[in-house]
Amino acid sequence: MLPVAYYIGLSAILFAIGAMGVLIRRNSIVIFMSVELMLNAANLAFVAFARAYGSMEGQIFVFFIMTVAAAEVAVGLALIVAIFRTKQSIDVDQMNSLKG
């Protein structure tokens, strides 16, 4: 196996790209996809450390992260659909009122 630093470095780069995506993009669905990319970068770090320590706990944790991500996507996309119904837009700049 390559040194774990390679995988952690790649994970950090992917996380930074995801964070930039959250800040740059105006389309709320693409922002949501960037959050998924950040979760995936964290998963890569978990699996790399699990392999380096020879312990299964990291892989189990990734399994739970995937479950939480699936639940989060279901609720988040339902919220986006509900917002689109009221505002006819999913542009985050348009969501500037608390009245719904």
Binding site: M1, L2, P3, V4, A5, Y6, I8, L10, A12, L14, F15, A16, I17, G18, A19, M20, L23, I24, R25, R26, N27, I29, V30, F32, M33, S34, L37, N40, N43, L44, V47, A50, R51, A52, G54, M56, Q59, I60, V62, F63, M66, T67, V68, A69, A70, A71, E72, V73, A74, V75, L77, A78, V81, F84, R85, S89, D91, V92, D93, Q94
Partner: protein, 169 residues
Amino acid sequence: MTTDLILFLILAAAAIATALGMLFSRNAVYAALFLIMNFGTGAVFYLLLNAPFIALTQVTVYGGAIMVLFLFVIMLLGAEQTGRTPAAWWVQPLILSLGAVLVIETLYIIITQRGLLPVPVSPSATFGTPDSVGEILFNTYLLPFEVTSILLLVAMIGAIVLSKSKHKV
């Protein structure tokens, strides 16, 4: 070692290129397809790291279920094009430089502190097999696993309630 390194570099380049493609593609459908490719390269990384079960879960749950849901919502809302309101001119350079700072900072920490990182041990023969994942999941982590089912049930009910039309029923 060298074949491992070449494979890693090719895969890392593919992962970073698809992530950047997702970041900069104007069309949300293309962004979703780039993200599916990124999850695919992630699955190959998991295979390289002795995690075949996680790799296949990645393909089915992330590449399959989650991204189908994304594409479905994009096409349902007709939201392929990005926002109509253009951002201020200074937003994009500012965020790109902040992202570059974040990358440089983390890479600097990793390089200077790499003595603290663990030296990889050679794994046991059963490391990462579905057998060993199932054994540890259903013994040590049985309670979190069961709580997960409640979480998924709540998410399912929440999605149905939130997307229910208010005019009918």
